[in-house]
Symmetry: C2
Subunit: 339 residues, 2 copies
DNA sequence: CCGATTTGCTAAACCGGTACAGCGATGCGG
DNA sequence: CCGCATCGCTGTACCGGTTTAGCAAATCGG
């Protein structure tokens, strides 16, 4: 015989299917004595629920979805995502919920996946990342009605539950640190301008520059790739008045920038200070190790998972959770600028 | 009304559920005319199959599983896995199959997940990676009978379909290249000795050393972490007779090694040549860029997916697919050793 | 001691598809 | 013109759970 079903258990234990269902789900309707007998039989027969059968009765699918839109071949799945995934799963698997992960080409394909998985009842909820300035995904997900947690608020529009960190405060802490060291010309290699967090960081830098009376502070948008990170760094360092410090929006770009500095013979941190907005193994292993913004991405993942599961339980809740502001870890890539 | 079902479509089109099922699945049993009408109605009502209902009829679950055993917080999901994932999904989503990804703490937990997902009918098959020397997972998966593709043969024992690359030939090409440059003292920072591919690489180096009459060639096992990569490199460079070339089993360790060399003032490639067994963005962005073994991991993922889907179709097939041997991409971290 | 409630269980409907037996209409060979 | 195969479709059982209506026995209150 193949997989045992509750009908097999019922026969074996001499009760009805309904009784077995009650017993296995810890619901009232059977005596304590019968429950124990049924549980023992189920145990002996090594029974497990058939997830599809469960999901069919209008119940939960037992999975949540995470869709990333990136060109397939260029996926670098940064340490950030690896950590996030890890945290998500730690929490999800504690609640026996699976994670469906999919990498697609672009936002249009991503939306299509939301529609499909939602109407196929394949998942109970979604995690939305890489929030854009005018994000077409929000409206779709609200319309679909599938519980969704947005990573990267604070809420702009829409009514989806949100988990966010204070990017603005983080950028301010970097700029204040550099200014305190004596830097007056600071460049910022930003990510894709379409991302909301990129905008917030750019604005934070501009505001801080005005307040701290910096001579020069500007953001250069990139596509987050190592190639653009390297090219933009090369352009900056070729200027006559070059910046004394560069802030990178990702660790990959920061490491690429460090490589360019080495290649051009610019001493780090002697002539140039580098800061990465993202900390990870990468920032630690290069020489000199990079000063970087550290956040507990694993914990962030756990928090997102908890928030999502809460939203699945109670789809009407309107949560907005703010996480700890990331803190700067000073390493050896930053120093007082040489006169 | 909520999601439309085939019953709704049947009512709307004035036919029976059975006819709708035939029409939607492109099976004979309805006239071309009726089929078109049904498809049009389904389109208008925006119908999608309920994945659970499909899976219930003994049919496919429409998903495959990939379980990685790594300590939760230390996941670095290397570029290798990111690329592999990407390739897997490109192929899987073309066949509308989802990927269930789970990161667990250790092999015991991994096996438990295989048992659970298999008996819950949550997936149609598994991808097995990080093959170990005496791998307890093989027997479990064979017993479960769920189609599984092993990445990293050649087949040792067991009868599961396998996809593998020739690690041995790859290592030989690296050593031959270094020997041709004039290197006679070569060290190898290997990965976990429990992994089959680590063993194969170690053996290949030993054999090549004998054949090429190297003065010294030895493998140092590590846990693949940046920390051990750095520590082992430091130890090697502190010797009186230090190696003139080091081969790293992963890009992360190679970059960490490069950092140590910079810190200790050892010139790369002047005094020390470095080779990474894994190519990725990392190897390209540091300075000097690393000579590395390049393989098309994306294509590997696609191939694994195709092989798995074939195994799901025909569980009795005994496939063994060998992929192209990776080729060495020479960059600036290797040179003739200084006398 | 009787009616009302609670307890412990059974039988059957149901979820949304798939698979298959069967049936009337049509076409075809002899 | 009859018997038989084929076509196009209907009706229904079925997958493995959950849920509900219902029922007999036990318990309770008055």
């Amino acid at each position: 015989m193949g997989r045992p079903t509750i009908a097999d258990i019922a026969r074996q234990a001499g009760v009805s299917k309904g009784a077995v269902s009650f017993a296995l789900n810890g619901r009232p309707g059977v005596s304590e004595q019968t429950r124990e007998r049924i549980l023992r039989v189920a145990q002996e027969m090594n029974w497990r629920p058939h997830s599809a059968a469960r999901a069919l009765g209008g119940a939960r699918a037992g999975a949540v979805g995470l869709v990333l839109a990136r060109p397939a071949r260029t996926v670098g799945v940064e340490p950030f995502f690896a950590q996030l995934l890890s945290g998500l799963q730690a929490e999800l698997s504690a609640c026996s919920t699976a994670l469906q992960l999919l990498v697609v080409e672009d936002t249009a394909a991503e939306i299509e996946v939301y529609r499909r998985w939602s109407s196929e009842h394949r998942v109970d909820g979604f995690v939305l990342v890489d929030l854009q300035v005018h994000d077409p995904r929000i409206a779709v997900l609200e319309e679909l009605g599938t519980p969704t947690v947005v990573l990267g608020g604070p809420r702009r529009q829409g009514s989806l539950p949100t988990v966010w960190a204070d990017d603005r405060a983080a950028m301010l802490s970097i700029v204040e640190y550099l200014a305190a060291l004596g830097h007056r010309r600071i460049a910022h290699l930003a990510g894709l301008p379409a991302f909301l967090h990129t905008q917030r960081r750019i604005r934070a830098l501009r505001d801080a520059a005005r307040r701290l009376e910096l001579v020069e502070a500007y953001s250069v948008p990139t596509d987050f790739s190592d190639a653009e990170g390297a090219a933009a760094t090369r352009a900056l360092l070729a200027r006559r008045e070059r910046p004394t410090a560069i802030v990178y929006d990702s660790d990959v770009m920061a490491v690429a920038g460090l490589g360019v500095a080495a290649e051009m013979g610019v001493a780090v941190p002697g002539e140039l200070s580098l800061v990465s907005f993202d900390d990870s193994v990468l920032a630690r292993i290069v020489h000199p190790p990079l000063t970087a913004l550290t956040r507990d991405t694993f914990a962030l993942g756990e928090l997102v998972a908890r928030t999502l599961l809460a939203a699945v339980e109670d789809p009407l809740g309107r949560l907005e959770v703010k996480t700890a502001t990331p803190r700067l870890t000073v390493r050896e890539s930053t120093a007082v600028p040489r006169r």
